[in-house]
Amino acid sequence: MTTLLRLASLGFLAWNYGLYFPGLVNPVALVAIAAAALAGGLFTSRTRAWVAALASVAVWLGLRLLLVGVPQALSSFSATPLPWDTWPLAADRHLVFALPVVALGWFEGWWFRPGRSSPARERLVHALVLVALFWAQGPFHLTLYSSPFLFGLVLLPYLAVEAYLLIPEARLVARRTLASVAGVLLLVLAVVAVLWSLFGKYEELSTASGGGLMKPDLFQFDFSPLIRLETQISLSDHLVLLYREPGPGTKRYLRRFVLSGYDPAKGFFVDPPAGGGETALPPVGHKALTFPNNESLPGRQLVTQEYFLVNLDPASLLALNAPVRLQPYARWNKSSFVNAYKVESRVAGDLYWELGDEPGDGLNDAERQHDLRWGDDAELRELALSITAHAETPYEKALAVQNYLKDNFLYSLKPGEPGPEGALKHFLFQSKKGYCSYFAFSMALLLRSVGVPARVSVGFLTNPDEKVLDFYPVRAFQAHAWVEVPFGTYGWVDFDPTSENLAPGEGLTSPKGMDPDEMTRMIAEILKAQPVPLTETPSEAVSAQPEWSVGAAMDWGRRFGGLLLLTLLLLAQEFYRQRFRAKAWFAPPRQKAELAWRHLRWKALQVGLGPQAAETPGQWADRVDLAQGWVQGLERARYSAEFSPAEAKLAWSELPAITRELALRGRNLRWGRARLVAMVVFPWWPHRRPR
């Protein structure tokens, strides 16, 4: 049984390895090869290492001769093409691709035999292989499986098998009752669900406080490289979202975060002024929202956009500067999008003359102080003053700084290691190359240092050339940072100081075009779904049309699944305990003694002192009694209860005392529990009890 499970675990890894080479290797063949290698390893497990290694090489070469050499020779005898002519090529490819599987399988069979090495080490090797297998995947999506949900479904039995092999107690228990196997499965399920739930909760909290800003996420786009000044970044071409905007193609700044706080150590961060204000962008929920303060901004044009999020936190509000209305859409069945909503924004047009004449920033004292913080660096001020020497109004100053950075600095995804002066000063005074965040942070601080309030916006810069119908794909490499400056009644206005001149040696190639098939599929889906606004009460909207989808189930599971499973687990445990008590309460004396005996055995199993295979109850009692005197007493009581109800009654009455004693001797029990946890968390933990 254990060997079969070990094979299942190894087979899972071989299968996933095979998925990396679609069309080239058959994962089933790899699983078969893994089984053969494990068998070979087991077969040679009594031999020396070099003998086993030599045997594995010999078997591999023999197989190659048999599957490649012989068929090739036979095929070449015939002058006409034969249907099986291409088999040797396929066999050769499989044998070469299977080399890591053969090595791992043979090694495991040979090394992890009973008595040589602990099963925990084998689990550790598997965990490392699993991490290595999934390390190479996309930054926020799983490429081997169509959805994380499916991956979860596949991973669950694998984890159960690994847990079963890892925990000796679980194996011992599982051998006896099927219910206990289910219990182990339930335990694994509960652990996964709790983690999943905690992850969902964390995401919810982080979104509420500014939106998962510092959160590297396996499945979603992560903005963190844009809000820190890294020495090197790389942005992939994965699709993050689609948005629809009718009319001629237009370059847009889609704003996700407004960063007004600054700390020299960590850069700009979300820090809305007291009272919230516009920088505290709300998460997208089920309700429509309005932003009345933005309604009255003059010189702006109303732009309506619909957002369809693919790889982004579903609660992320993306909008142009400045949003006036948000209308979430109801999700449709089998949606490819994690969320969809419509946003109307009022966008500043060409306000050159108006802003030039605007003397004030329109902020109150508290707001101004908030957006001028950290503008007191002498070096920066000196530079800012020299740049803005000929500028009078805040608008002229903003333009001067923007043009200075645009014209004199170079764009680079590899800004390099900063000196002791810090990344920003290194950028401004030494390297003069960086990516958008370097430019935006610098401009904001330079403006602050000459008394012009400024803040940084982070989001995406879109490309009108990629527009198909009214849809614009937005991909990870389009993430961008820019600056906003306030101008009285005109509100905050965007400035983009990022240079378009590439630094030498950047080696940037043109990004991969959007996959036309994927784009067409998504557009067709949206056109068919014709998204409808979500009504104020979500339940109505949900009941108005079928709402089930994998995404919704995952979302629900992440929020509540873990807690529910944990509750179920506790309830199940309580149910079994109460059932035991009830059974014992109503049972005749002899059965009571029997139940007490079983209870004791169960407790002993938990602390690793359970009966061994082929051990009679008497032998077990004798063996264990060397350490604990109560076992034999109960065993005697159990036997005497067969003949005397009074003895049985006595045995039952002694049970609480025995249990108490067990609790007093709880070192074993506590150690057992700690060991369970330790072995899950640290598989290399020694799992021998202290004597």
Binding site: F21, D470, G507, A524
Partner: protein
């Protein structure tokens, strides 16, 4: 009071009138007819409000379900946005409403073609031809799709049967030429191509482009049948008619075959300026790979992979799968070249060795992976060709796929030769070369090399010579191997490093004191053993080139080198800067400089 009464009456009337107008305005219904909606849709489309346009067209279709115009407008809109997958059902809706309109059939079939669904396009064209049996345009379109699906004989039979009752056209002649060319029927193909040129007499742009394509096709025919000079002349004619990216690409390919690196790059770059396909990027990548400029090759190959619009394939004699196959071959060649070039890297510290080993493993694995993908696709495309009885192409594919399993490779090579050689006698040396390469037969290779003498066959000669070096070294015939290396250097010095080969030379050091020279000689010896570059100060049989190296160490640390042939005449020279701590790196630089194209 009377006037007051009148005034009140007027006020009331005007109020009623205003109210009436407002009420009427509110109740004005939207456009009621399909035609109105079509008009509105077109207006929305012009304003790039596609969402509205689609809604209008769909509503128009609902109002007038029998009219083909709303789905036609929708199909045109989708097609204009290159959303062929969405355009297809719209065209099918048009066809369902107008089954007697020939153009509707063509639109559906063409859209299948744009989606690279060639077999589906054939089915639609066949059905259309059943309905319009005398339509030569339809027959021509079907014949093109039959060419794309490699069903050449059916295409020829179809067109020739049509021509029995109708006068031919330039387009039909061109497709007949292409079909005959694919069947190795040189004479017939030539006749049809020339006929297509003769039939196009006008001077409009369309006609010029047509003639240019015809000359281009003729050049491909000449190249396939080893008339390299004629092929060049055809291309010149083609360019004379109309400058097109394809012409420059074909010219570049001829130059590349002749190992004229700079000329080929120039042609490809010229093609790139006007090319709306990834083919010039692909050819440039191939050229850079061949001559060892691997960073450029990788960057071009990435651009090819990033080129996502595949509708261009419809108009070319290639399929999606075949283009993917060629990309995999390119990727494999790039990684293989990188793997080989690593051997010429100088390694002085433990870290250098570690990095070298890491890169060697990484490049080796990537080479193997792409090579297997390529072979897998060769088998797939070969099987597809076999299904439609295009055996010659299948055999070529299967020969290449079994390059490392010579037993099977030779079998398919023999089948291919049996088919082609009687039709294309000049292909004999090429077959000898391929057989020699597959079987590792030195004699056969030598025989083939004697016959491959035109500049257009230089690339083939280089492959043969490289294999000869390997075989001769394998049997310990170092002198003969040196001879092959010198021959290879004479025709294609630039491609040697990317094949892991270097010219054997006798080194002569000057310009420094005895201690320094001794150090340089030791560095040379170390580098020679690391890189397997046959370089030494000793005279060795078979070594015909001398490499003079002058050391400057006073003002600037530089090495000046000159390569001299057997007569002592300088062939090449150059200089490299050096660091005394890493002398081997300077030698590595000299090696790369010596092996550049003239």
């Amino acid at each position: 009071m009377k006037w007051l009464g009148w005034a009140l009456a007027c006020l009331l009337l005007s109020a009623t009138s205003v109210g009436g107008q407002t009420s009427l305005g509110e109740q004005t219904p939207g456009p009621q007819t399909s035609a109105d909606l079509l008009l509105l849709g077109q207006q929305a489309e012009r304003a790039e409000n596609y969402q509205q346009a689609i809604a209008d067209y769909q509503r128009a279709a609902e109002l007038d379900p029998k009219s083909p115009e709303p789905p036609r407008a929708l199909a045109l809109l989708y097609a204009s946005q290159n959303l062929q997958r969405l355009a297809l059902p719209a065209w099918e809706a048009v066809l369902a409403k107008t089954p007697d309109d020939r153009d509707s059939w063509i639109e559906v079939a063409q859209t299948h073609g744009y989606l690279n669904e060639d077999h589906e396009a054939v089915v639609v064209y066949e059905e259309a031809l059943r309905r319009f049996p005398a339509d030569l345009d339809l027959a021509q379109a079907l014949a093109w799709m039959l060419f794309k699906t490699e069903d050449f004989q059916r295409g020829i039979t179809l067109l020739e049967s049509m021509l029995k009752s109708q006068a031919t056209t330039a387009g039909v002649e061109m497709i007949l030429g292409t079909l005959y060319s694919s069947q190795f029927s040189e004479a017939q193909a030539r006749v049809h191509y020339l006929q297509s040129i003769a039939l196009t007499t006008g001077n409009s742009l369309t006609e010029k482009v047509f003639r240019s394509i015809a000359w281009y096709n003729l050049s491909l025919l000449d190249k396939d049948f080893y008339h390299f000079e004629a092929s060049r002349d055809d291309l010149k004619q083609s360019i004379l008619q109309q400058e097109r990216a394809s012409n420059h690409l074909a010219m570049g390919e001829l130059e590349q075959e002749a190992l004229q690196e700079k000329a080929a790059r120039q042609s490809y770059t010229k093609a790139l300026e006007t090319d709306d396909t990834p083919l010039s990027l692909f050819d440039l990548a191939k050229l850079e790979q061949l001559f060892g400029h691997l960073n450029d090759a990788k960057s071009r190959a990435t651009e090819v992979a990033n080129f996502r619009d595949e509708t261009w394939i419809f108009n070319f004699g290639v399929t999606k799968e075949k283009f993917l196959r060629d990309q995999e071959e390119l990727a494999a060649d790039i990684h293989h070249a990188a793997w080989l070039l690593l051997d010429f890297q100088a390694r002085t510290t433990v870290w250098d060795w570690f990095v070298w080993a890491w890169n060697k493993t990484s490049e080796g694995l990537q080479w193997y992976y792409h090579d297997q993908n390529w072979k897998n696709l060769l088998v797939k495309t070969g099987n597809t060709s076999l299904q439609v009885r295009n055996s010659p192409e299948a055999w070529v594919n299967l020969t290449l796929a079994h390059r490392d399993l010579p037993g099977l490779g030779l079998k398919y090579l023999s089948l291919s030769r049996q088919h082609e050689l009687p039709r294309n006698p000049l292909s004999q040396p090429s077959y000898q070369l391929e057989e020699g390469l597959l079987a590792g037969d030195e004699k056969l290779l030598e025989r083939a090399l004697k016959q491959l003498q035109t500049p257009g066959e230089n690339a083939d000669r280089a492959r043969g010579l490289a294999k000869l070096v390997e075989l001769r070294r394998g049997r310990g015939a170092e002198v003969a191997a040196r001879q092959a290396l010198s021959d290879l250097f004479a025709i294609g010095a630039g491609l040697m490093p990317a094949q892991g080969l270097a010219l054997p030379v006798r080194s002569l050091w000057f310009g420094a004191d005895a201690t320094q020279l001794e150090q340089w000689r030791r560095a040379e010896s170390d580098y020679a053993s690391q890189s397997h570059w046959d370089i030494s100060g000793a005279s060795r049989p078979g070594v015909v080139y001398d490499l003079d190296i002058q050391v400057f160490s006073k003002d600037s640390r530089q090495l000046f080198w000159t390569l001299r042939d057997a007569t002592g005449a300088p062939k090449k020279s150059g200089r490299v800067e050096y660091d005394p701590q890493t002398k081997m790196e300077a030698l590595a630089s000299i090696l790369l400089q010596v092996h550049t194209s003239d």
